[in-house]
Structure formats: C-alpha cells, structure tokens
Amino acid sequence: MELARILRRASTSSAGAVLIALLAGLLLMAVLAPSLPNALAAFARGAFGTTYAVGASVNRAAVLALVGLGFILAFRANLTNIGGEGQLAMGGMVAAAVALKTDVAGLPFGLAIVLPALAGACAGGLWAGLAGWLRVRRGTNEVISTLLLSFIALWLVYWSVHSDALLRQPRTSATSLPESADIPNGAMIGMLVPPMHQGIVVVILLVALVHLTMTRTVWGMRLQAIGLNAASAKRAGLSIPRLTIGAMLASGALAGLAGAFMIQGEQYNLKAGFSSGYGIDGLVVGLLARGSAPTVLVFALLFGFLRSGGIGMEIGAGVPSAVVLTLQGLVILAVAGMEFLRLRQARSLP
C-alpha cells in the first residue's frame, strides 16, 4: 500500500518525468551510437572527465539556475516569464557595454566587476519589467510579450555587435569579426578553479535569498497571494500592479545577471547569439523545479552537465548532441503531461 503510493507519487513528480525522458534518450542513443558503452563513456568524459569539463558544466549550471530562479519567482505571482533568453541577452549586452564604454575597469574594491554585473541585472529587470508594465497597463498577456521581447533583444545584440557606432570591435583587418572587443581585465570575474568562475558562489547565495524571500518574507507571501487569487488579494488591499511589476523586475534581473556572468566570467566579449539556448534551458529548469529554489539548483546542475556531456559525446563518439536537445524536449513534454495525471489524482482523492 505504502509502496504503491510512493510509486504513484514518484511517477507524477519532476524526477519521474526526467527519468522517463532519460530512458527515452538512452534508447535514442542506443539506436544512433555505433557502440552504446563508447557513447556513454564519451558522455561521462565530456561532463566530468576533466577539470575543464566540470568547470564549464558548473558555469553553465550557474546561468541556468539564475534564469530558473527568475522563472519561479515570477511564477509565484502566477506570471509566466518565458522571455529569459531575451533578458539574458540584454543583461550580457549591457554588462559588456558598461565594461567597454565606461572607465569602470579602473575602479577599486571590486566595483569594476560589480557595476557591469549590476547594470546587466538592471537591463534584464527592465526588459521583463516592461512586460509587467504592459500587463498592468494594457492587459497584455505576459507570455506573448516576453516571447516577443526576447526576439527583439536578440536582434538588439546582433545590431550592437554589427554597428561600429555601438559595440563592434575596431576593424583592424578585413577578417575582424562582428563581435565586441574583449572587456578589460579589471571587469572579468575571478576564477575559483579555471574555467569555473566565482559566479556560482553568488548563485548559491541567491538561491538561498530567493528561497527565503519566497517562503519567509511579506513580499513573498504577497506574490503568492496575488498568484493564488488575484481578486481576493486585491480585496485584501494588495497592490496588484506594483506586485506584478516588482515580480517581473526581480525575475528579469536574475536572468540579466546571468547574462553578465556569461560575458564577465566566461566569454569576455559579446557575440550575436551568445545566449543561444540558455534561456530555454533555464526555463525548463524553472519549470521542473515546481516553485522550489533549492530544486532549481539541482536541475540546473543536471542540465549543465547534460549539455557538456552531449558535446563530449558528439566529439568522442560521433553521436549528434541533438540527442540531448531531443531529450530536453521530451523532459518538458513529460512535465507538461504529468500535470494531467496530478490533477486527476487530486480529483480522485477522497
């Protein structure tokens, strides 16, 4: 009896969804790989094999965790922010712009690192806040607006690195790529163990902070109140416009900070499409976490290592890394489908 109940609960949890998708991914690999053990070994090497592999995976996980945290924070207020990709791009672009175009790099006390990162967070926050404002003032569905804003942000980044007047590096030769110049050394985030940068420490602190904010603060409770029942929250005197915009600002700021980390900790210059795929991965992490900040970190690490493993598998065993992409799609679908089972279970309870 007890076992049956545990099994049933597991089958409708995120872990169950991930497990099902992982099995499907394994099946897909078995079909595609000339030798499954070789492919798995290459996957493990890519994910955990070297310090470099681990560091790259953790850096990726840090970005995904921030986007995921932003997602669950807005979702607390029943706002679906699917524009993490665009907020990430805006954050990275503005962080790069501040690092390159101002004299911030000479500042002492770590301000050279903190100011561009904060500017990036603000940019991401404003980008999402715009969607919040549109929802409050014009009744625009935030799903549609954050999606559209994402595309606009990606092309803004493209524009900024293609225009000499904006962030494009000086053309020293005919082969100068449409990218920004490298940011000054002073603005680069320090390393824990190269290539793993200190961002992950900040991310862990933010996980704790978001967790406490959502569970222990008045603001967190208010977000939940408007999320659960906007009408009664309004009657209780809560300002829905202020809370909506605030939740979107905070949500986007987390994603924007992630963009700054990517530029200041890993890539050091701005390229078009630098954030490609990270926003969606972060969204998936947020969805899987079901509102729990610590769980965000778990799934961020899982996806960070999955991606690196997938790349390792492509190089080492000739299995397309698109297998990992497919697997992610299946995870999302499994989670979406699970909702149905959960609802039905809830209804069938006595």
Binding site: F151, W159, A322, T326, E339
Partner: protein
Amino acid sequence: MTDTILVVLAASTIRLAIPLLFAALGELVSEKAGLLNLSLEGMMLAAAFGGALGCFASGSPFVGLVVALACSTLVAGLQGLFSIVLRANQIVSGIGLNIAVLGLTTIGARALFGRDAGFTIPGFGKLAIPGFSDLPFFGPVLFAQSGFVYAAPAVALLMALLLYRTTPGLALRAAGDEPRAVDKSGASIAAIRWLAILVTGLAAGLGGAVYSLADIHTFTENMTSGAGYLALAAVIFGRWRVVGTIVASLVFGAAASLQFQLPALGVDFLPPALLIMMPYVLALLAVSGLVGRQSPPRALALPFHR
C-alpha cells in the same frame, strides 16, 4: 536600374511572405478555437524536413509534399493530445515540441543526408503562367513564382469561408470565446478544437514545405529558424482577422526582403537588424493595443474543463 530592384524586392516579398501566410492562417484557425500553438515552429520545421525526406526517398516533390503534410500534422496531433486531451499548459508543451522536433530533425538530417549540407533534392521549380508572366512588373512578381504562391489565395479564401461561412466555423469561433456556452449547446469542444488544430497542422505543413521544396531544394538544420514564431506574431499583428493576417504576413515578408535589398537601394543608415526585429516590435505594439484595438479570443490558451 531602380525598376529592377523594385521587381526583385516585390518578388522576394511575396516569396518570403508565403510560408508565413500559410502558417499564420492555420494558426488563426486554432487561436479562434482557443488553442495557442507555439509548436507552429515545430510543425513548419517537421514539414520542411518531411518534404526533403519524401522527395529524397522518392525523387518526386509531390510525394515530398505529402510527407511534409503528414509530418506537420503529426506534430499538430501531438500538440492536440497535450492541449485538448491532457489539458496541459499549451505554451509549455508547445516549447517542448519545438525543442524535440529541432533535435529529431537535426538527428534525422545527419543520419539521412550526412554532415555535408551539399545534397539537393528535385523540389518544385518556378511555374511561369503563360501570357501573364511577360507582363511588366506584375509578371515576374506574381506570375513567375512557385506553385505555392498560386495556392495561397485559394487557401486564404478557404480559411475565410471555413471560419465565417460554415456552421463548424461558427462553433469554432464560439469555442474560442465562450467554450462553456458551446458545450451547453451540445457541441463537443474537443471535436471542434481537434478540427482546428488539424487544419493548423496542414496549413503549417504547406508553409514549412515551401522552405525545402520550393525556396532551396535541400534541408538544413533548423531550416525554418523562427518562421513559426514570426507567423504567430503575424496573427497578433493581424488582430486575429483573416485579412489582417494576410496583410501582416506581407508586411513581415517585405521587411525580410528589404534587409537584403537595402545595400542595392543605396540605403546604409538603416541597420538590417532593425528590419529583422520590426515584425516583433509591430506585434508587440499590436498586442499591447498601442496600435489599434486588440481582440484576442477570450478563451485563448485556456484548457477546457467541463
């Protein structure tokens, strides 16, 4: 000189607008019934892949077209399973489908066609209409295009008739606005929405097939590269109307073709990125009601519970 550029511009506007038009009209039918399919992108990509696959295997572009429609309808069917049967979150399941389709078509393309992107398939050629294709300006713009272009007005008319001149169309529009009332009247919301999503699948399939069968006779990874999202934006900018959607698709097509012609026109102050992002800006302005009044179906993206 300027005349030729204008002809090229107009002709490529039509060529680039057609796939968007098919997909957007299809999506319009779904949205009118209350379904939001972010998987439109996945449907188009699946069709582009299916078209190349069918054509590659059989040597006939017509077989390719059939396989393309089958592939996109399969994705639409899966989206229907999630949106209608499982009552899952339509946005989340749509994104999941897009990612899965992107992964699977990439794997499929590598497995079938190898890693070099050089392979070509027969595909459809341009179909010049005798007598009309020699007309000045209109000839090359309208009457020397692929068969898809000539099919577009017919499809648009068909969609308009379905939505506004038939009984199922009436029920369909009601299902997107007042599903409860439709349910009370004895009609099945599920059946109506299945009809809508299958129409969307077929139309998006036509749009996706254009890419691999008519534009370029090959398949490349992520070939549609966001065309489905652009088509979604066209429905929004078209304010959920047939004529509006057609105009939106043409405007988006013009923006896309203009970015390639700007240098030839001697315009260098306008960054191409601005033109590429313009459709999304216009859609955002439209959906925020800053340009005209918006009227999305009231039950859009809401699962129906009895």
